[in-house]
Structures are given as structure tokens and as C-alpha cells.
């Protein structure tokens, strides 16, 4: 710890902090464009110029003769930083005026308006108007920068964050600065667009509206988006994200900085992979088969040969869930060991706990198994070398994991507690010896392989809780339409044992419900689904998940005890 003084506020800063970080700890903002915590320092934008001095042994303060860039200036004990002197203010005004020389004031059509650092800093530190009498330089927009990226060239402030990102984080180095002076532009080599798997991050990195996401372009003004803090469910890295939604529609996912999980970035697979949640094919109502629905009046028309007409609105879910509960209890009481509940690695810890406790509460011999764990290829590590090779182990800055589900470890911890060991569905597929199944899906795409389909066959009871229709849901006795990741509250445990809480951003389509709510009612528990209360219960009940006992996991999540020990052992 070193003691520094920022605008007369004494603060303890880290020994490796620069002036911007030290000032941030004192609650003082030093405006900056080119500097980013996870990129190298170039000090080229000159926005963070501050006055820096030191405290002499006799207590007097000697300020430096000229302004220095805060991002590049290290601190030591007794460093004095001033960000509010007339000299600093004049420098900030001048820098902004120069940045705005050729910046078109097309905020009204710019997607960044509302979250633009040029707007914010001009408002806070700049001048009200321009003194430029000459025409502004106009440059062609470049829609060829990447499949997902468009460059509005004349909005660029040449901070080169994007260039440094492709060189240092993705290692693919597609972007570069061409030409010199005021003709500098960001560009790619001809026929070599920026299409690496992390390319979407340059849009987030861009402090102005120069790099825009084609996917989000002109879809929504950002001030209407409401954020929900969640976790990406694309792979077991479990990137912290914020889900940006408006009127129940998700428009984009953005990474939320979390040094514990992934750092500042996320991959394009996760970033653009949320579209399935608005797919029209999603299951939107619970259904009962014809046999089960006999005797229940309905006013709706049927759409499928297997299923009874949709139930009346008011008793839709209560009917389906009461039937389901009754059928499960009957099946387990008849022959407990032939009842199998299949858990999906897309379930949250809370949901897995609710279902496991309910099933085991009826009879201890009922079986719980883990559904298929999707895996594609091998872990994809960045930064890539010049020939596309993976980096050495110590240099990895971002990993897209092969395991394409968010919560295998969390569900396994629950299964281990209730079942004793984790049984995979693949291992019992040959001889399942089961007549009744409760199957939880929630996978992003079709997951029912031929082997699983055959193993389940046509049992006497088949209940499917899923988001997409599958061969299983087509012949199920009861289908419970459930929620995607954006509709769930809960906890996910990532590959490194980091438990993070996610909150729901939107409502499920139609009459579908988030899994937690379904299971709460199915288990006959009273009250509403409350992830925090359940976490406290789980923390007390399952020793491996004891860290959940606090209920609130914070922004960055907490590590399971077993993994925290490993992490400290590795560090020492």
C-alpha cells in the first residue's frame, strides 16, 4: 500500500496503480480514452493529463513543472495528484476541442449516444461550442471491417484501443492504423476482415461511436435499455454479463468486468448467441396428453394429435403441476428405483436443489442422473500466436471453453449430495431399467440424441421440462414450458468453482415460466421463488456449497471452498 493524495484526499493505493487507478480509489475521475485496464499503455489521447508532485522529506510538496499523462505515471508514497487545477482544466478543454475538430456531431444518429465518452467528457470537461471555421474532414464509413463490426471512420478519436485489443488479447492483429497525422484511420488489410471469435469486444472498447455492432445497429437507443446482471451460459467460463433489454426483448449482451471470472471481455459466441431465447419455436404453454387431460374442460383448440386442447388460462399451470406432482408421487411409490430424474447442466444450483430435494423427499431410492454435457472441440485459448497457435499456459488472457454449459459443477455438487455420486445419463443409456422419467432440458439447441431417445423409449410416465420441442416433448405425458437463462434467477458455478448469481432480465414467452417457479410449485413449497433465500438454505444443507449460505454472492461471485483452497495453493 502506498499513500497518495488526490485533490487533498488521502488514499491508500496499490503499489502498481497508475494515477487514474489511484484517483479512482479516492473517488476522483480522471477522464481517459486510450487507457484500458487490460491493455497496454500508450498515453496517446492526452485526455488524462494531470499535475503530479511529490512530498519532500521535510513535508513540503513539490509539483512537477508540466502536466503528465495519468495513465503512464506510476505512483509512490507521498505522490500528490491534482486534477482540478486551472492548468489541468485548460488542458482537458484543449484536448477535447482537438478531438472534436473532425468529429461529426451526428449524435442524433449515432448508436453510442447516451453511453459515449466523448459526449460525457465534453459535457463535464469541455467547451460548449467549437471555434473551428474550416470544414470538417469527411471520410467513408467502412462496413467491411468485420462481419459484426462497422467502422464510422470520422467518429474515431484514434485511441487505438481496438488495435491493441486485436494485438494483445485476441492475438489476431487484424486492425491497424493507416496514414498519418489527421488522416490517420483504423483499417484492415484488404480481404482480411476482423472476424476473430473475440471481435465483438472492440465495439465495447471503442469509447466513441466509431466501431458499432452491426447486429445492434439502429435497433434501440441505449437510454431505453435496462440492465440485468447475469452470467453467460454459452460455456463453462461463465463470463459475467449484463443483459440489456427493453419491453421484454433482449437487444444485446455485454461483458461485465469481473477479474474472478473472465476479465473484461466475452466471446462472440456468447455475445450473439442469445437469439434463441426469442425463437418462435419455443414451448410457450404447459401441456397434458389426451389421456391425462380427460375430464378437464377446455375452450381452446388443439394443435397436436398427442396433446389435449390447451387448458383454460386460469388453471393452466395449477392443473399441469398438480397432475405432475401426483403422477410423480404415484410412480415413485409404485417402484422407486425405476423413476429417473434427468438434471440438465443448464439448471441453476437452486433449481437442481429444489428438484433433487423433492424427488428424494418422496423416496430415497428414486434415481437422479446428470443429462448430457455438451462439449465442442477443445478449449480455445487467446491470444493466438502469429500462425494461429494457442499461447503458452502462463500467457492465456481469455479462454472459450469446450464445455458448452454453465453449471455442470453446481449441478454435480447437488447430485453428489443427494445421490452420493454423479451418474451420467450416457452410462445408464444401455440398460436404463426405468419406467418413469422426469427430464429437464433447457439446452440452447436440440440435445436429445438417438441413444437417449432410444433409452427413454415410451415409458409409463414421461414429464419433460424444456424450452424447445424435442422428440421427447412430442410424446411426453406432461410438458412444462420453462425459461431460458435470461428469464431465470439463480446461481451458476463455473469451471473454476466460482459461484455467481444471475438475475432475470425478461419474462418467459407466452405462458412459459422460469424453472425455479415451476419447481417451487411442483415441490409443493409455499411462497414465491426467491433465489437468495434458497441459497441460504442450500448453504446450510450441502457442505460443498456452504459458501452460498451468505445468500448474496456480490458482483464477482464467491469461490467454492474446494476451489478456493486450490487457488491459494497455486498462488503460494
Amino acid at each position: 500500500m502506498v499513500k497518495v493524495k488526490v485533490n487533498d484526499i488521502e488514499v491508500d493505493a496499490g503499489p502498481k496503480d497508475n494515477c487514474i487507478l489511484a484517483a479512482r480509489k479516492a473517488g476522483v475521475e480522471i477522464p481517459h480514452y486510450c487507457w484500458h485496464e487490460s491493455l497496454s499503455v500508450v498515453a496517446s489521447c492526452r485526455m488524462c493529463l494531470v499535475e503530479v508532485g511529490e512530498t519532500k522529506p521535510d513535508g513540503t510538496i513539490a509539483m512537477g513543472p508540466k502536466l503528465v499523462p495519468g495513465c503512464q505515471t506510476p505512483i509512490k508514497d507521498g505522490t500528490v495528484i491534482r486534477t482540478d487545477s486551472p492548468k489541468v482544466k485548460a488542458a482537458q478543454q484543449m484536448t477535447l476541442e482537438l478531438l472534436l475538430l473532425n468529429h461529426p456531431l451526428d449524435c442524433s444518429i449515432c448508436d453510442q449516444a447516451g453511453e459515449c465518452y466523448l459526449q460525457d467528457y465534453t459535457y463535464k470537461y469541455g467547451k460548449a461550442h467549437s471555434r473551428l471555421d474550416e470544414p470538417k474532414l469527411q471520410r467513408m464509413d467502412k462496413y467491411h471491417i468485420g462481419d459484426q463490426i462497422a467502422l464510422f471512420t470520422d467518429r474515431c478519436v484514434m485511441c487505438t484501443r481496438c488495435v491493441r485489443f486485436t494485438r494483445e488479447i485476441s492475438g489476431t492483429a487484424e486492425l491497424q492504423v493507416v496514414a498519418r497525422g489527421s488522416h490517420e484511420e483504423i483499417d484492415v488489410f484488404p480481404e482480411e476482415p476482423c472476424n476473430n471469435k473475440l471481435a465483438g469486444n472492440v465495439v465495447d472498447l471503442c469509447p466513441v461511436g466509431a466501431l458499432c455492432s452491426k447486429d445492434f445497429l439502429y435497433k434501440k437507443r441505449v437510454w431505453w435499455l435496462k440492465q440485468a446482471e447475469s452470467v453467460c451460459t454459452g460455456c463453462s467460463t461463465g463470463c459475467s454479463i449484463s443483459i440489456d433489454q427493453n419491453e421484454n426483448k433482449v437487444y444485446r449482451l455485454r461483458p461485465r468486468p469481473n477479474p474472478e471470472a473472465q476479465g473484461h471481455f466475452m466471446c462472440d459466441e456468447g455475445r450473439f448467441g442469445f437469439k434463441y431465447i426469442h425463437d418462435e419455436r419455443r414451448l410457450s404453454t404447459p401441456r397434458l396428453s389426451v389421456a391425462l387431460a380427460s375430464g378437464i374442460e377446455s375452450q381452446r383448440k388443439t394443435t397436436s394429435a398427442n396433446f389435449a386442447p390447451d387448458l383454460n388460462f386460469a388453471d393452466l399451470w395449477p392443473t399441469a403441476l398438480t397432475k405432475a406432482r401426483q403422477k410423480i408421487q404415484d410412480a415413485i411409490k409404485a417402484d422407486p428405483s425405476s423413476f429417473v430424474a434427468v438434471f440438465s447442466p443448464f439448471m441453476t444450483v437452486e433449481e437442481a436443489y429444489l428438484l433433487a430435494k423433492f424427488i428424494k423427499g418422496i423416496h430415497d431410492k428414486a434415481r437422479l442422473v446428470l443429462g448430457p454435457v455438451p462439449s465442442v472441440g477443445v478449449d480455445d485459448k487467446y491470444p493466438k500466436g502469429p500462425k494461429g497457435e494457442s499461447p503458452a499456459d502462463g500467457n492465456v488472457k481469455f479462454t472459450i471453453r469446450a464445455e458448452k454449459c454453465p453449471n455442470r459443477l453446481g449441478v454435480e455438487a447437488v447430485l453428489k449430495h443427494f445421490e452420493g455420486s454423479v451418474v451420467r445419463i450416457e452410462s445408464i443409456a444401455q440398460r436404463p431399467n426405468a419406467h418413469a422419467w422426469y427430464i429437464v432440458g433447457g439446452y440452447t439447441s436440440g440435445w436429445v440424441t438417438e441413444a437417449i431417445d432410444k433409452a427413454i423409449g415410451t415409458p409409463s410416465l414421461l414429464i419433460v421440462q424444456d424450452i424447445f420441442p424435442s422428440p421427447l416433448s412430442e410424446r411426453a405425458d406432461i410438458v412444462l414450458a420453462s425459461g431460458s437463462f435470461a428469464e431465470r434467477d439463480g446461481t451458476y458455478v463455473n469451471h473454476a468453482g466460482l459461484a455467481q448469481s444471475a438475475s432475470a432480465a425478461v419474462r418467459a414467452p407466452g405462458e412459459a415460466r422460469a424453472d425455479g417457479r415451476i419447481l417451487m410449485e411442483l415441490a409443493g413449497r409455499t411462497g414465491l421463488f426467491n433465489a437468495m433465500a434458497l441459497r441460504k438454505e442450500i448453504g446450510a444443507a450441502i457442505p460443498e456449497l456452504s459458501v452460498l449460505g451468505s445468500g448474496d454472492l456480490g458482483d464477482q461471485g464467491v469461490r467454492l471452498v474446494r476451489f478456493a483452497k486450490q487457488a491459494t495453493a497455486a498462488a503460494t
Binding site: 451526428d106 449524435c107 442524433s108 461550442h129 471555421d133 470538417k136 464509413d141 439502429y218 437507443r221
Partner: protein, 205 residues
């Protein structure tokens, strides 16, 4: 400045009622006199609407119009400012990238694919007009707004543009905005010097 302000404000005082005024009789008599005078004068004050249409002041806030630029394109750049400012939530825009393959649209980036105003929900406050950075939306002095269904009163882009065409034809342009000139966002930067410096510009801004 503050001195000048205080001088321009006139504070009114309630007149004190005398004995006679407190009786109210003089007021009743003078009122009756006015009524009798009008009854016998033979000059009708009734407006013969709709046979005779009234003169509406040009700053009246009536039906909206969407302006066209010099090339006849919709002037709106779909910035959503009016939708954001609207206190009645009656404006709905869906933006889209401008059709760049059309040679008329090469200098535009964003345009409104749809632009609808619910004229029944609108409270005619004029905030949309205030918010518009390119003077694309204006309230006209057209006041006789009728329709047989609610749906008919939800004006789309074509309808709003046709209000523009109609008001231009009949010379009922609103007076508030600088009509005829493009706002800064839809304008290509002029090659020569720009207009006069903004007011209040000091030596160093």
C-alpha cells in the same frame, strides 16, 4: 441583469371593495345592461362554423407533420428524440439503415422505417417539435381532426408526410421552426465557411 428583471415584473394588487361595490348591485346592473345591449344591437357574435372557418394563428399546435428535405426524402433521421421527449408516449419509430443502394440516399445513414403517432393519445404539447434536432416534426395549424375509428387516428409515416404536402400546398406552414433549411445532422457539411459564430462566443470561447 437581475435589476432589469425585477423592473419588468409588475405586481398587481387586489382592489379594495368600497361600500357600494360590496353591495354587488352596480355590478349586476352593468351586467344586465351588457346583456340588453347585445340583445337589441342586432350584431350576432356566433361563429358560423363549419360554413365559415376561423382564422387559426400559425403558431397553433394541431396535427403533426413530417417534413421533407429538398430532395423529397423524409427529413427525420430516426434519432428517437421526440419519442424520448413525448410525455404521452404516442410516438413510435422503428429505425433502419438508410437504403444506401438507392442513389438518393447515399448521404444518409439512418432513417425511420416506420414512424407512427397516435393522434388520439397525443396531448399536443409540442415537446416533439422542441426535441427534434433536424426540424423534421412540426405541429401544424390543422385542427379539424376527425376519424371514424381509433385505428384511423394512428398516423403513419406516409400520412404524416401527406400532411406536410397538404400544408405546404395551402400555405399553412407553421411559424415556429426554420422551415426550408436542413438541421445539422441531416446536412452534408458545406464546402465553404460555415454560418455566423454562435452567440455568446468570447475570445477563447
Amino acid at each position: 441583469m437581475s435589476n432589469k428583471k425585477t423592473k419588468t415584473v409588475k405586481w398587481g394588487e387586489e382592489p379594495k371593495l368600497g361600500m357600494l361595490d360590496a353591495l354587488y348591485l352596480p355590478a349586476i346592473v352593468s351586467g344586465l345592461a351588457t346583456a340588453v345591449r347585445h340583445a337589441v344591437s342586432g350584431k350576432p357574435t356566433t361563429r358560423q362554423y363549419p360554413e365559415v372557418e376561423p382564422e387559426i394563428p400559425p403558431n397553433y399546435r394541431g396535427v403533426h407533420r413530417l417534413n421533407r428535405d429538398e430532395q423529397g426524402r423524409v427529413k427525420c433521421v430516426a434519432c428517437y428524440m421526440c419519442q424520448t421527449a413525448c410525455p404521452a408516449n404516442c410516438i413510435e419509430i422503428i429505425a433502419a439503415p438508410a437504403p444506401k443502394e438507392d442513389p438518393h440516399w447515399t448521404d444518409r445513414d439512418k432513417y425511420p422505417a416506420t414512424f407512427t403517432i397516435d393522434e388520439l393519445r397525443c396531448i399536443y404539447c409540442g415537446m416533439c417539435e422542441e426535441a427534434c434536432p433536424v426540424d423534421a416534426i412540426e405541429l401544424t395549424s390543422v385542427y379539424d381532426l376527425t376519424g371514424l375509428t381509433r385505428k384511423e387516428m394512428i398516423f403513419d409515416k406516409e400520412k404524416l408526410l401527406s400532411v406536410f404536402d397538404e400544408t405546404v400546398k395551402t400555405g399553412k406552414d407553421p411559424v415556429r421552426t426554420n422551415r426550408g433549411t436542413l438541421g445539422p445532422a441531416s446536412e452534408e457539411a458545406p464546402s465553404g465557411r460555415q454560418g455566423p459564430p454562435p452567440p455568446g462566443r468570447g475570445k477563447h470561447g
